[in-house]
């Protein structure tokens, strides 16, 4: 039988890409409308500023430098989105990426500032802390039937307060911020390997960025090419079927949450060990990074490689929000747009079903037309 030519639109990857682009487009349009409502005078300029981000600078050296800064913050976001994605593939919704991220901040900064450890030890400490926190949610789900969403949210707040307490011991005298790495322990700053020089001497561009991309590839390989990944995905599709096939669904569940937690907390280390930011010990809200990770994961079509693009995009508009005219708008407008995009991602399934339905009808119509044409030919 000859293989039927299928429409390009039938391809899953193409559909995901289309859906994501549609989400972005609608998100931006609604964001634009919101800006118009607030103040029609500068709305067009503001939305362009958000989209342009570092390109608002006219000098190319400055552009490169701030592209570097966007990339520095893309690395942790990518890790958080991988964390959400990894858990989602196994049927778990890791809303705790934010808390695991906080745990990573706490572990890495404490190791760096209080104990003066080199950066790789701090990174490892962060990974372990996140894995433990993730495993707690996994254990609660496996043995106590606690919904992972609820337990993760509780753990988010618990870890926020714990980390605030822990890092208060290594903060600056006069401010609520933690000590800087460069003044206390330069050995904890991740090596740049000459990458910084590429971005107009942006000292914060370090090995963290290629490392995050490498992890994305590794996650893709684990999910698609290994037995473990297969089992996790099977458990996600139907945990009863997976159990029936002899997979250890409880152990898989705990392992998934641990790996997922480790990914998010590693992301935190990848940001804070560059010295780009200091932790504010009086922080009263869980950082948005983990939640934006959810946006990036879904916008990337739940594909690790798609996540690379989508996390860059989310970070791009978040950074862009910082450049809008503060006398008219607030920087939170980009949070608003990314939240809208997550909301719209909920409609992706519907979009795909509708698209497939439309394609089915079209194919059927064409087939019927061919048939009648053939019958007409036979009759002659």
């Amino acid at each position: 039988m000859k293989k039927e030519k299928t429409s390009l639109l039938r391809n899953g990857a193409v559909q995901s890409l289309l859906a994501s682009l549609l989400c972005i487009l609608i998100g931006l349009v609604v964001g634009y409308v919101a800006l118009l409502v607030i103040n029609p005078a500068g709305a067009g300029e503001a939305i362009l500023t958000i989209i342009k981000n570092f390109m608002t600078y006219s000098k190319s050296t400055a552009q490169l430098k701030y592209l570097g800064s966007t990339l520095v913050k893309t690395a942790p976001l990518l890790m958080c989105s991988l964390s959400v994605l990894f858990a989602y593939k196994a049927g778990l919704f890791n809303i705790g990426a934010a808390g695991q991220y906080v745990a990573g901040v706490g572990a890495s900064l404490y190791c760096a500032l209080a104990w003066g450890m080199p950066w790789y030890v701090c990174l490892l400490a962060a990974i372990v802390a996140g894995a433990l926190l993730g495993a707690v949610s996994g254990l609660l789900k496996a043995y106590c039937n606690v919904n992972e969403v609820i337990s993760c949210i509780m753990l988010n707040w618990i870890s926020l307060y714990l980390v605030n307490m822990l890092l208060s011991t290594v903060k600056e005298e006069a401010s609520p911020y933690t000590l800087t790495l460069s003044s206390t322990n330069p050995g904890a700053i991740m090596p740049s390997l000459g990458l910084g020089a590429l971005f107009s001497k942006n000292q914060y561009v370090t090995v963290a960025i290629p490392l995050a991309i490498l992890v994305a590839v590794v996650v893709w390989v684990i999910l698609e090419k290994t037995k473990l990944g297969y089992e996790l995905r099977a458990t996600g599709c139907n945990k009863f079927a997976a159990k029936y096939c002899g997979m250890k669904e409880k152990e898989n569940l705990i392992l998934t949450m641990a790996i997922s937690g480790a990914l998010a907390s590693m992301g935190a280390a990848l940001l804070y060990l560059t010295g780009f930011e200091q932790w504010q010990c009086t922080q009263s809200a869980v950082p948005a990074m983990g939640f934006n990770g959810i946006a990036a994961a879904f916008l990337g079509g739940l594909n690790p490689l798609g996540s690379i693009l989508s996390s860059y995009f989310i970070q791009h508009i978040t950074n862009g929000g910082a450049y809008v005219d503060k006398t008219m708008y607030s920087a939170q407008i980009s949070d608003f747009i990314s939240a809208l995009i997550i909301y719209l991602c909920g409609f992706v399934l519907f979009f795909k079903v509708t698209l497939n339905g439309y394609l089915d009808r079209r194919d059927e119509k064409r087939k019927r037309a061919e048939q009648t044409a053939q019958e007409g030919g036979d009759a002659e």
Binding site: A34, I38, N39, F93, I95, L140, C144, N145, V146, N147, V149, I150, S151, I153, M154, L155, N156, W157, I158, Y161, L162, N164, M165, S284, A285, V286, A288, F291, I294, A295, F298, K326, T327, M328, Y329, S330, Q332, I333, D335, F336, S338, A339, L340, I342, Y343, C345, G346, F347, L349, F350
Partner: protein, 313 residues
Amino acid sequence: MILLLQYTLIFASVLMLVALGGCFSEHSGVINIGLEGIMVMGALGGALMMKFMPAGMPAAGIILLVILAAIALGVLYSLLLAVAAVNFKADQTLVGTAMNLLGTAAATVFVKAMNTAESVDNVSSIIQYIEPKKAFLVNIGSFEFNWFMLVAAVALAVSYVVLYKTRFGLRLCACGEHPQAADSVGINVYKMRYAGVLISGVLGGLGGIVYITAGVSEWKFENGVAGFGFLALAVMIFGQWKPTRIALAALLFGFFRALGNVYTGFDFLKALELPSAVYNMLPYIISLVVLAFTSKKSCAPKAEGIPYDKGQR
């Protein structure tokens, strides 16, 4: 001691209202993680009403208008979940999470825009309501009675009756247990789910305004409602989706939350010299421990979280 009782009651009222909202939504078969966002929106509605209402209104009028504003915005916002979950069969957890982020972001953008429009130097996201807030309070001795406590008690009674004693409530529960069976006897599952989510919008919005008027006279909308919506979900689960048990759970959680506000008033607690973060963490830790012990024999509505598909068997 009286202060502790007062704070316990007011926080329990918040938790009870929001948890009952979640209870209605989940009994209809829709998981409502977005309660946090709904609370923010309700709080915003109420706060705006208090800011812009003409001075010199009678107390009853203030209370009524503020409640109506909070409910209106809460319901409107919960429509986002209803449309996505019922009509478009979206992933309810995802949509709920998005609503939480969207609620805080939208409220912040809005309040900041409003403040900046009033005076260019004001870029904060704070709304003040010192004067109108007094309408809600009645002093009985040193106990500050808040009318919202009564509202919460009424909501509890009404919820109990509606859920167990009316045709509507029983039908609602049927849609959360086995929507196909409910549909087969002529109940419109989509309508029921809409009703469930919108009721959660009413109660969630109400809970939001109660929360931001509990103890403080201004609110910084950048902070959202600090995880209270999620705490209410824990209350709901601990309360096993039953109104009466939710009320008890709310009192317990409210007590631990209140402790964080007033622990300095107790000598023996002060003597322990625990950092305030410990008290902030307490409700979350307690809820986690409690959930670990009570979730095993969970009686969650069976069909919650599953989009209803008419064609499915």
